[in-house]
C-alpha cells in the first residue's frame, strides 16, 4: 500500500527520453531494426499461434518444416507470394491496390514510439532503444490505428462485392465503437502518470505497474484491444461462417499477404501498448528489479523483459482464440456501447475525482481511503433504495411468427399487413416449361408444396 501511495502521489512528470546523441545513421538503424523485428515477429507469431492452438486442441500442430515446424510460416509466406495475383473486374483498381498498403503502412508506424529499453550503448552512442518519443506519443498510436482501419474499409468497398462490403461496414462500426472504450481506458493512465509520452509512462511505473491500481481500465483495454485488431471473439469483419472472408474475400497473393501481415503486426502493436502502459514497459518484474541495485533495469536487460511481456499478451490473444466463440453482431454492439463505454466513463470520472482530491485537498492516505469507503457504502445503500424496474406487461397471445422471406418475398411485413405476390414468383406450369425436358414431377411437387403452405 505504501508503494501504491508513493506512485499515486507522483504529480510531477517523470524524466523523458533523451535523443540528443542520435546521429542520422542511428535513427536509420533503429527504423530498419523495428521493421525487421516486426516482420520476423510476425513469422514467429503465426507459428506460435498455430502451435499453441494445436496444444490446446490436443494435436501436434505444424511439425514438418524445420525444427518444431518453425519454418512453416516461411513456407506459407512463399506460397502466398507465388500465387496468382488477381484483380477482380468489378474492383475500383486504384483503391483496391492502395487499401492493403494503407493497412501495412499504418501498422508499421506504431512501434516508433514504443520504448524497448532505456539508454543502451549502440556503436559507442548512448541512446534510448526507441525510435522517437514526444509529449503525445500514445495519441499518435491511436491516430495510426485509426488510419489503419481505412485499409480494411476501403479494401472491402473497392472489391465491388457484397461480402467484402458487409465486412468493411462491420469493421467500421466495430472499430469506432471499440476505439472509444480503448481511448477512455488509456485516459486513466494519462491522469495517473501525468504524461502521454510512452517513455514517461514507463518511468512513472517504477514503484507499481499501472495494471494493479487501474485494474478496471486494464480490463477494458484488454477487451477493446481484441476488438480493435478483429480477433476472436470479435472477428466479425472476417467471420468465415457468415461473410466468407469479410473484407479480404476478393484479395489474393501479395495483396492478401499484406492484409495478413498488417493483422499480425497490429496484434504485436496492441500487445506492446498494453505492456508499455499497464505492465511497466521494459522494467523488470518486482523481485528481479531489486537485485544488485536495479542492475536488471539498465543496459540491454530490459529488452528481455519487454519481449517476455509482449509475448505474454500475444499468448493471451491465442488463448482467447482457442477458448471463446464469436459474438453475435447485436450482442457485440450492445456490449461495446451499453457496457464497456459507460463503465469506462464512470471509471475516468472516478480516477479524475480521486486524483483531483489528492492534488488540491491536503488529505492523508487514511482520510482518502475512508472517504472512498464511505462513498462506496453510500452507493451500495442507494442501490437498495432504487425501486426495481417493473416487468413489461406481456402482450397477449403467443408472439406472431415472423418470416423475413415469407412467400419468397424478402421484405419484412408489418403486423397485419398482407403482401402483394412476389413478381419474381413463377407459376408452377411456367416452371415446367422453362425446365425443358423435365418430367411432370417437379411441377407436381411444387404445387403440392404450395398447397401445403396454405
Amino acid at each position: 500500500m505504501t508503494a501504491m501511495s508513493v506512485a499515486l502521489a507522483a504529480a510531477t512528470p517523470p524524466p523523458a527520453a533523451d535523443f540528443s546523441n542520435d546521429t542520422w545513421w542511428i535513427v536509420l538503424i533503429k527504423a530498419v531494426g523495428i521493421i525487421v523485428f516486426l516482420l520476423l515477429s510476425v513469422l514467429f507469431a503465426i507459428w506460435f499461434e498455430r502451435k499453441v492452438v494445436a496444444r490446446m486442441q490436443i494435436r501436434p500442430g505444424p511439425n514438418v518444416h524445420g525444427p518444431f515446424g518453425l519454418l512453416q510460416s516461411l513456407a506459407d509466406a512463399m506460397k502466398l507470394l507465388l500465387k496468382e495475383d488477381m484483380t477482380v473486374r468489378a474492383a475500383d483498381k486504384v483503391i483496391y491496390l492502395v487499401a492493403p498498403m494503407i493497412s501495412v503502412f499504418a501498422s508499421l508506424l506504431v512501434f516508433a514510439v514504443i520504448p524497448i529499453a532505456p539508454e543502451v550503448n549502440l556503436f559507442g552512442h548512448l541512446t534510448p532503444l526507441q525510435l522517437t518519443d514526444f509529449p503525445v506519443a500514445v495519441l499518435y498510436i491511436l491516430a495510426a490505428a485509426s488510419v489503419g482501419v481505412y485499409g480494411i474499409v476501403l479494401g472491402g468497398w473497392a472489391s465491388g462485392s457484397t461480402y467484402p462490403l458487409l465486412g468493411s461496414v462491420r469493421s467500421t462500426a466495430q472499430v469506432i465503437s471499440y476505439e472509444l472504450a480503448m481511448g477512455m481506458s488509456l485516459v486513466s493512465v494519462f491522469v495517473m502518470a501525468g504524461s502521454m509520452s510512452t517513455r514517461q509512462i514507463v518511468e512513472s511505473q517504477t514503484t507499481i505497474w499501472w495494471f494493479l491500481p487501474l485494474l478496471p481500465a486494464f480490463v477494458i483495454y484488454l477487451i477493446s484491444m481484441t476488438g480493435e485488431v478483429n480477433r476472436l471473439p470479435f472477428d466479425l469483419p472476417e467471420a468465415e461462417g457468415e461473410l466468407v472472408g469479410g473484407y479480404m474475400t476478393e484479395y489474393s497473393s501479395m495483396k492478401f499477404a499484406w492484409f495478413f501481415l498488417a493483422e499480425y503486426i497490429n496484434m504485436l502493436n496492441v500487445s506492446a501498448v498494453a505492456t508499455t502502459l499497464f505492465f511497466g514497459g521494459f522494467r523488470a518484474p518486482w523481485p528481479l528489479s531489486a537485485i544488485n541495485n536495479d542492475m536488471l533495469n539498465h543496459g540491454w536487460w530490459p529488452v528481455l523483459w519487454f519481449g517476455v511481456k509482449l509475448w505474454f499478451f500475444m499468448f493471451i490473444f491465442v488463448w482467447v482464440r482457442g477458448t471463446l466463440l464469436r459474438f453475435r453482431y447485436d450482442q457485440f454492439m450492445k456490449f461495446g456501447w451499453k457496457i464497456l463505454i459507460p463503465f469506462a466513463l464512470v471509471w475516468i470520472v472516478a480516477v479524475s475525482v480521486v486524483q483531483g482530491v489528492r492534488r488540491f485537498a491536503d488529505l492523508s492516505q487514511a482520510q482518502l481511503l475512508g472517504g472512498l469507503a464511505a462513498v462506496l457504502v453510500l452507493a451500495v445503500a442507494a442501490m437498495f433504495l432504487v425501486p426495481e424496474r417493473k416487468e413489461q406487461p406481456e402482450p397477449d397471445g403467443p408472439p406472431e411468427p415472423f418470416d423475413a422471406f415469407k412467400d419468397g418475398y424478402p421484405v419484412p411485413p408489418l403486423p397485419g399487413q398482407a403482401l402483394p405476390p412476389s413478381p419474381r414468383r413463377r407459376a408452377p406450369v411456367e416452371a415446367s416449361v422453362v425446365a425443358d425436358g423435365a418430367d411432370r414431377t417437379t411441377a407436381d411437387q411444387t404445387t403440392a408444396q404450395e398447397e401445403d403452405r396454405g
Binding site: D92, I95, F134, P135, V136, L139, Y140, L142, A143, A145, S146, V147, V149, Y150, V153, L154, G156, W157, L165, S168, V169, T172, A173, V175, I176, E179, M196, E394, P395, P399, E400, F402, F405, D407, G408, P410, L414, P415, S422, R424, R425, R426, A427, P428, E430, A431, S432, V434, A435, G437, A438, D439, T441, T442, A443, Q445, T446, Q449, E450, R453
Partner: protein, 291 residues
C-alpha cells in the same frame, strides 16, 4: 477544407517568422502543399463519392503533418484521431451503405437550404478570419512562449481556461444533435423480442412436428452438380427436398434429380426422352445404367 487551408497556411508562415523556418520544414511544406491542393481539387472533381472522401482524408493527414511540423503535435494527432479516424470514417460508412453517386438528384429538399448554407459558410469564414487576425495582429508571441509548459498542457490551459464557456456550448450542441438523431430515428418495436433461448426451445419443440434442429443439408449432388437448385441425396439415395433453398422451391425453380443426370450422361438422356413411364431418382437411373 480548401477554405480553412488557404486561411491557415499564410498565417502559419507569417507566425513562423518570429522563430525560424528550417530547410527541412520548408521542404516538407513544398512537398505536402501540392499534394494537399491536388487532393482538395479531387474533392471537387472526383466522380465517385468515395474518391472525394479519400481526397479529404489526404488533406487532413497532410495538414496534421504540417501541424506537427509547426510544433503543434497535439492538434495534429488529435485531428487525425477525431476527424480522419472518426468523422470521415462515419462519412465513408454512410457513403458505402447508401451508395451516393453523381446520378443522385440535386433538388433541394429543404427550402432555402442553399441560402442558409451560404450564410453559415460566411459565418465560419468570419470566425476563421477573426481567429487568424487575432493570432497575427498583435505581436505574435512565438511557439517557444506558447509551448513553454509543454504543448498538450498549454492547449489544455487555453481550452479549459480561456474558452471553457465556448467549449461547453459546443459540447451541449453536439449532445443535443446526437440525442435528436436518436429520437428521430427511434423505431418502436412492433413485435415482442424473441430471445435466443426462446428460439432454441421452439426449435427443439418442433422436432415432434418433423422439423430438424441441425443445419439443413447443402444442395447439390456432388461430383455431378453443385448447383443451388439440385437437391442433395440422402444416405438412401433419395433426393432431400429441404436441401434446396426455400425461395427456389416456392418459385418453382427447383430441378429434379433426373435432369442433372440426364444432362451429364448422354446415354441416360436418350433413355429419358424415349421413356414415358420413368420414375425420378438416382436409384432408378442407376438401375438403367447397370443394364
Amino acid at each position: 477544407m480548401t477554405l480553412s487551408l488557404g486561411a491557415l497556411l499564410p498565417a502559419a508562415t507569417s507566425l513562423a517568422t518570429t522563430g525560424h523556418t528550417s530547410t527541412a520544414e520548408g521542404v516538407l511544406f513544398w512537398v505536402l502543399a501540392p499534394i494537399m491542393v491536388i487532393a482538395a481539387l479531387g474533392l471537387l472533381f472526383a466522380r465517385k463519392a468515395v474518391h472525394a472522401a479519400m481526397g479529404v482524408v489526404v488533406v487532413m493527414i497532410s495538414l496534421a503533418i504540417i501541424y506537427v511540423a509547426q510544433e503543434a503535435p497535439f492538434l495534429g494527432v488529435v485531428q487525425v484521431i477525431v476527424y480522419t479516424g472518426a468523422v470521415m470514417m462515419l462519412f465513408l460508412f454512410v457513403l458505402m451503405l447508401v451508395g451516393v453517386d453523381a446520378s443522385d438528384s440535386l433538388v433541394e429538399t429543404i427550402t432555402g437550404q442553399r441560402w442558409i448554407g451560404l450564410l453559415l459558410g460566411a459565418g465560419l469564414a468570419a470566425v476563421l478570419i477573426g481567429v487568424v487576425v487575432a493570432a497575427t495582429a498583435p505581436t505574435p508571441q512565438g511557439l517557444a512562449t506558447a509551448n513553454e509548459v509543454g504543448n498538450p498542457q498549454a492547449v489544455a490551459g487555453v481550452v479549459f481556461g480561456q474558452h471553457v464557456f465556448a467549449l461547453e456550448v459546443v459540447g451541449t450542441l453536439l449532445v443535443t444533435a446526437a440525442v435528436g438523431a436518436i429520437v428521430l430515428t427511434h423505431r418502436p418495436r412492433l413485435t415482442r423480442l424473441i430471445g435466443q433461448k426462446e428460439r432454441a426451445d421452439a426449435r427443439v419443440a418442433a422436432i415432434a412436428e418433423g422439423q430438424v434442429v441441425t443445419p439443413l443439408p447443402a444442395p447439390g449432388v456432388y461430383a455431378r452438380s453443385n448447383a443451388m437448385d439440385v437437391p442433395a441425396l440422402g444416405p438412401d439415395g433419395a433426393p432431400l427436398e429441404q436441401s434446396v433453398p426455400r425461395v427456389l422451391r416456392i418459385r418453382g425453380q427447383e430441378r429434379d434429380i433426373s435432369e442433372v443426370h440426364a444432362e451429364v450422361d448422354e446415354r441416360t438422356r436418350d433413355r429419358l426422352t424415349g421413356a414415358d413411364e420413368r420414375r425420378a431418382g438416382l436409384t432408378g437411373i442407376d438401375e438403367e445404367r447397370t443394364r
